[in-house]
């Protein structure tokens, strides 16, 4: 649906046109070019000794380290540890937040009971709660899961409640006039109606889990990607720090793309 723009004045080949489509191949090329310029500039900066490699290792060196660490077993086991923590905490959060969010939105009185409290708690920054978590749970696995849960659960509850609120009333009222009691609409109407939104909310909160797992692992851990990064920092191994960061980015990217794909497959009816 392109708006016909006065073709006599503007050449069709111009790529720099305001709010107009450009060919897919051009977008791809532009993205690759952008990345190449960025990486090339970075490499050049170090080659020309503008910055010391100990502060900014060149991209090729980082790539080398990344592969090396992946092979020698210093990265992958720690990556798995982090992934496990993220998913465990995320699943606990989601399993609690989805029913509570739906109930809070479905029944005003339940919403009134929990909403002010949750609104307060969700503004507490997770790092500020690290000391308390360590006092309560020590430096073991529980602390990390607790911190991740803390960082996601309260946000997610409110998002679930909002997703539920957004369901058009007509869906419920239709079901009532087909003989459903309000409670009987939760599973066959409310859940499928909000599911596309709900999955997006969960995808977003999974992203937050990754932020918090690194904080938790930096502060109190002897395993995980946060630990890898923090240890490398102590020995000024900037290339290893960067390799760790890139791993986090890659996992985030892959997870996000997978979930988006799943979303498209599941909700093809939209």
């Amino acid at each position: 649906m392109t708006v016909p723009a006065s073709p006599t004045r503007r050449k069709r080949s111009s790529l720099l046109c305001f709010r107009q489509q450009v060919p897919h191949s051009a977008s791809l090329l532009a993205a690759l070019l952008g990345a190449a310029v960025f990486l090339g500039g970075w490499q050049l900066l170090v080659e020309l000794r503008v910055v010391a490699p100990v502060f900014l290792p060149p991209p090729l060196k980082v790539a080398q380290t990344f592969i090396h660490m992946s092979v020698d077993g210093s990265m992958l086991p720690n990556t798995l540890v982090s992934i496990r923590r993220v998913w465990l905490a995320f699943l606990i959060s989601a399993l609690l937040a989805v029913p509570l969010g739906i109930l809070m939105s479905g029944y005003r009185i339940i919403g009134a009971t929990f909403e002010p409290m949750i609104d307060f708690i969700r503004y507490l920054p997770v790092p500020a709660l690290v000391p308390l978590a360590i006092i309560w749970f020590g430096v073991g696995e529980t602390t990390k899961i607790f911190l991740l849960w803390l960082g996601t659960f309260f946000q997610l509850v409110l998002m679930v409640a909002a997703d539920m609120k957004r369901i058009p009333n007509e869906y419920f009222e239709t079901a009532y006039t087909l003989g459903a009691r309000p409670r009987q609409t939760l599973l066959p109407v409310a859940l499928p109606a909000m599911l596309p939104q709900l999955m997006d909310s969960m995808r977003i909160s999974l992203g937050w889990c990754w932020t918090y797992v690194i904080i938790a692992e930096i502060v109190a851990s002897d395993s995980g990607l946060g630990f890898v990064i923090w240890t490398a920092r102590r020995f000024m191994k900037t290339d290893q720090v960067m390799a760790g960061v890139i791993m986090i980015g890659l996992i985030g990217l892959v997870t996000d793309q997978c979930l988006r794909l799943l979303h498209r497959k599941l909700f093809r009816y939209q």
């Binding site: 058009p168 009222e173 009532y176 087909l178 093809r268």
Partner: protein
């Protein structure tokens, strides 16, 4: 098919939202079983509110609504409603949407439900689209899905709130024709809300014409006695149809037309 002898009655019904009167003068109406009644009036005059009260989706501020002599309460399967928008469930196929209409019926076996779903798919001409999702079919088909779903639930009263309001003119006329036929064949007592005069005249056995808010009945028109009960495209072009339409238009514009139409 099933023909329950229903009888729907408004008895001195008023409705206020807070202090805002929507139905201020006590509203009274008796609908015999099987009648096709159209509520016609300008936007915001309270038609939807009156209909929602039949469905139990709103409650009267005073007075009561009786179905077969019994006051109606919370919504249930006896009063099925078809909405203008969000009328079908987008996550269910056409067939599943229609089957949903029987989801809360305990009196039917799974096999009977399947069979009925098939019957209503055919009735509304959607057999070929049984496996399609609502987003893949036209707006008119979506409204047919909603009508079939409600009929499958077998309500005593069929409530329709401007169900064809979002459709273009040609499609509307086709659906009006089909609906009128389906309603006569099923014998369901039907309340249909619209602000479109032609739609009202074509569909109705009887039109309740409302003035601007708060709801006030300005005419109770016996359409059958004026243009007969047979409705097809010829009727739409007939002089009687045209006359009645014009007369009601004048009523709505507040002109003091000769009340030959008002019963």
């Amino acid at each position: 098919m099933e023909q329950l002898s229903s009888y729907l009655q408004f008895h001195d019904v008023t409705k206020f939202f807070g202090d805002v009167p929507v139905v201020q003068q006590p509203f009274n109406l008796a609908v015999p079983a099987g009648q096709f009644v159209v509520f016609l009036g300008p936007s915001g005059c309270g038609k939807t509110t009156l209909m929602r009260m039949i469905g139990g989706l709103d409650t009267p501020s005073s007075g009561e609504i009786l179905l077969q002599g019994m006051p109606v309460g919370a919504p249930d399967i006896r009063r099925g409603m078809v909405f203008q928008s969000y009328s079908s469930f987008p996550w269910l196929t056409v067939r599943k949407n229609i089957e949903f209409g029987m989801r809360f019926r305990r009196d039917l076996s799974a096999a009977q439900k399947k069979e009925r779903a098939e019957y209503f798919l055919k009735l509304v001409g959607l057999t070929d689209f049984a496996k399609s999702y609502p987003s893949r079919i036209s707006g008119g088909m979506r409204q047919r899905v909603a009508i079939a779903r409600t009929l499958a639930a077998d309500p005593d009263v069929l409530l329709m709130d401007e169900p064809f309001g979002a459709l273009d003119a040609n499609l509307r006329e086709d659906l009006q024709f089909e609906l009128r036929k389906i309603q006569k064949n099923s014998g369901k007592t039907t309340i249909f809300v619209t602000h479109d005069v032609e739609e009202a005249v074509f569909l109705a056995d009887r039109i309740i014409v409302f003035g601007p808010r708060p709801a006030r009945v300005i005419a109770d028109v016996d359409v059958i006695s004026l243009i007969g009960s047979e409705r097809n495209e010829n009727v739409r072009d007939s002089e009687r149809f045209f006359h009645l339409r014009t007369e009601i238009l004048h009523l709505l514009r507040g002109r003091d037309a000769k009340k030959s139409a008002a019963a």
